[in-house]
């Protein structure tokens, strides 16, 4: 007979509230039901109420970890709508901002994943090295988390010559540490016992369920917006897209850690190739009627902003599709057939960002079930 283990809304494995109802037989999982929406903040409505300049700051605050990418995607969409091209130096500054954020996000994820499997030493060491990337963001842009490097029409601040040697030294330190961690994670017997063969997502499932980002790349799907639909200065920088075949948690760990090394290489190329010049062009107050889509490669996958303007200084409609929202359906084939012990690490391996996900209400069969449940619960409570 099946037994339901509730994970969430409060659980040590989850950073933010979400509700999983996992049906188990002994230790084996036979069914998963996912309920989101605890974090709904009404951001899309708020973006339609503010001008584009103010909306830029609000879009950055959708998510704390991928904030540069959100503002970059919004900027890309709005600049397409207005038909404005930003200057060359600004494109390279945007690249440096986005890649520093990718490093910090992947190191944060690696620490959380290590904590889920009980390896607290690695958790502390990853987060110690993450401080180096946050110090760099503070040095270059003025804030550790909300760097706000982009601006409508260019970049917000310029990168000064005297900061570059410290950036290069820190990148060298980070590279050495991350190479050592890749070595540890692929050779440690307990990590391999917990991560290898666990939470496998086959390539067919990844393509059918539209998984994006490192979750899909670890299953063999070779797709990266930076290479396939280039933005900022990515078409002038050469880098590898890391793809693994196995699709288990260990493959996802390896993909993300190797992407940190690629990011370090990208930043070095950007520093060398950055042209001199202005960092901003004039951006009009009122944007003519148009609609456009801006896509970027967030640390978690493909992030899409749809913007429609109506001639005033406020957008008519902004629609955000975050990578975490696209990756949730792939949690089900990964979990069913496994054991309870694997739930935290498998859910963490999608790198879910709950804030990013819950800006919309889920209006499909799931909500229908939920509504009925609520009535029953209310009836029970009334007795």
């Amino acid at each position: 007979m099946t037994f339901i283990v509730p994970i969430g809304p409060q659980h040590p494995a989850l950073e933010e509230p979400a509700h999983f109802r996992i049906e188990v037989k002994g230790e084996e999982i036979v069914g998963v039901d996912l309920r989101l929406g605890y974090n709904h903040k009404g951001i899309e409505q708020a973006l339609s109420d503010r001008s584009y300049a103010h909306g830029l700051y609000l879009s950055a605050r959708v998510c704390g970890i991928c904030n540069s990418t959100h503002s970059l995607a919004f900027t890309r969409a709005v600049e397409s709508v207005a038909g404005i091209e930003c200057p060359d130096r600004a494109r390279y500054i945007r690249v440096i901002d986005a890649e520093l954020e990718r490093i910090h996000s992947h190191l944060l994820w690696a620490g959380i994943a290590a904590h889920e499997i009980g390896f607290t030493t690695l958790f502390m060491l990853f987060w110690r090295d993450r401080e180096l990337s946050l110090d760099m963001r503070e040095l270059l842009f003025g804030h550790r988390i909300y760097a706000s490097g982009t601006y409508l029409g260019g970049a917000r601040v310029d990168i000064k010559e005297k900061d570059i040697p410290q950036l290069i030294r820190t990148l060298a330190k980070l590279e050495k540490s991350v190479k050592h961690y890749i070595d540890v994670c692929t050779s440690d017997r307990t990590i391999i016992a917990r991560c290898s063969g666990v939470g496998v997502l086959k390539k067919k499932d990844a393509l059918e369920l539209c998984a994006v980002g490192p979750t899909a790349r670890a299953s063999g799907v070779d797709f990266d917006i930076r290479r396939d639909d280039p933005y900022a200065a990515y078409d002038e920088i050469s880098f590898d897209v890391i793809v693994e075949r196995d699709g288990d948690v260990l493959a996802k760990v390896v993909v993300r850690l190797r992407e940190i090394l690629e990011s370090i290489g990208i930043i070095r190329q950007a520093i060398d190739a950055m042209p001199k010049g202005a960092i901003r062009t004039k951006f009009p107050e009122n944007v003519p009627e148009n609609e456009a889509v801006g896509r970027t490669e967030a640390p978690r996958g493909e992030l899409m902003y749809y913007v429609r303007s109506n001639g005033t200084n406020k957008p008519e409609r902004v629609r955000i599709r975050t990578p975490s929202y696209a990756n949730w359906p792939s949690a089900k084939p990964m979990l069913v057939g496994g054991t309870i012990a694997e739930i935290p690490i498998v859910v963490a391996s999608i790198d879910p960002c709950y804030s990013c996900t819950d800006r919309v209400t889920i209006v499909d069969a799931e909500t229908g079930k939920f509504r009925i449940m609520t009535k029953e619960e209310l009836r029970r409570l009334r007795r």
């Binding site: 037994f3 339901i4 283990v5 509730p6 659980h11 040590p12 494995a13 002994g26 230790e27 290590a114 904590h115 889920e116 499997i117 009980g118 390896f119 607290t120 030493t121 690695l122 502390m124 060491l125 110690r128 440690d188 307990t190 990590i191 016992a193 917990r194 054991t339 309870i340 012990a341 694997e342 739930i343 935290p344």
Partner: protein, 317 residues
């Protein structure tokens, strides 16, 4: 009359509740401080476990409505009592423990299993799914480490001519050197150290109380004074298991004279126990947690085989 008073004093002060709690909580505090430094940060101060337990005693005592309150309330007290009773059966000061007539390896192993059984019952009686999952994992893990532990202990007993009394084992080591210096018993020493890590529920074997997976396993619904008693019991168990290992393999409480300074038996015993605790801390920090089926498979192959090899070598030679 005086003898009974002596036993009561021994149970409450030395080597009973006061001494065992003080040393156990101190060892746990040092373990947390060392863990902090190994992870390149400052850990809590050494007195942190005392402060934690003191804070918990001041909290409200709550029993959940869905729990079986008789089992839920008695389990911590039974754990604590059993573990402290073992202290009276171990040679700590000299090769004679306090209760000489019943000091037997079998009694010690049984008494050390009572906390495990109590925690399993408490988990099932908690009335929450995390407690049930934690207890079922505990049952499986008990089958894993107990076999290796008992086989390793038996190989030491076999060496002393099949005597199960700890005092005779300690006296034998006082004359012939530590058990671990005999080549035939080195595999058993390794096996018992691994089994001890499982017995103490520390990474890589803290599966029944895996914090990130099932909140706190059997202990989830405990809070306030009951949790304080459980924590003291766990920390005394840390000291007791290290003490058993030291008595079996590392010489026990033998006084030494190094460089003209006389070190009494108790001090050398505490230093050796501390060494075992530090070893357990290092292992705790360099591994991830295993899954329960992987842990069971591991226990029944690696440590059990080592202990069996030792037993075979001792019996044959």
């Amino acid at each position: 009359m005086i003898e009974a008073l002596g036993y009561v004093l021994a149970f409450f002060v030395f080597p009973g509740i006061l001494f065992a709690s003080a040393v156990g909580l101190l060892f746990a505090g040092i373990d947390r401080k060392l863990t902090g430094h190994m992870q390149h940060r400052i850990g809590p101060p050494i007195w942190q476990e005392f402060l934690d337990v003191g804070k918990l005693f001041g909290k409200e005592d709550i029993t959940p409505a869905a729990a079986n309150s008789f089992v839920f309330n008695c389990a911590p007290l039974l754990c604590f009592g059993a573990v402290t009773a073992v202290m009276l059966l171990l040679p700590i000061n000299s090769s004679q423990p306090v209760l000489t007539s019943v000091a037997d390896l079998i009694v010690i192993i049984y008494l050390l299993n009572i906390p495990a059984v109590c925690m399993m019952l408490a988990g099932y009686a908690s009335g929450c799914p995390f407690g049930t999952t934690g207890s079922s994992r505990y049952v499986v893990q008990l089958f894993g480490y107990e076999l290796a532990f008992i086989t390793a202990a038996l190989s030491v007993a076999a060496k002393v001519g099949w005597s199960l009394s700890l005092s005779s084992i300690v006296s034998y080591q006082a004359q012939n050197g530590w058990m671990v210096s005999q080549v035939a018993l080195i595999p058993a020493a390794i096996a018992i150290l691994i089994a001890a890590q499982g017995k103490l529920l520390r990474v890589p074997f803290d599966i029944p109380e895996a914090e990130s997976e099932i909140v706190h396993g059997s202990l989830t619904e405990y809070s306030g004074p009951k949790l304080a008693i459980l924590r003291i019991a766990y920390n005394i168990e840390l000291f007791v298991v290290a003490a058993v290992v030291v008595n079996l393999f590392f010489g026990g409480p033998v006084p030494h004279t190094i460089g003209g300074v006389y070190i009494p038996g108790v001090v050398s015993f505490l230093i050796k126990c501390f060494g075992i605790v530090v070893l357990s801390t290092v292992i705790r920090n360099i591994a991830a947690r295993l899954r329960i089926d992987q842990a069971l498979k591991f226990f029944w192959t690696f440590p059990t085989l080592l202990a069996a090899i030792s037993l075979f070598l001792v019996v044959v030679t």
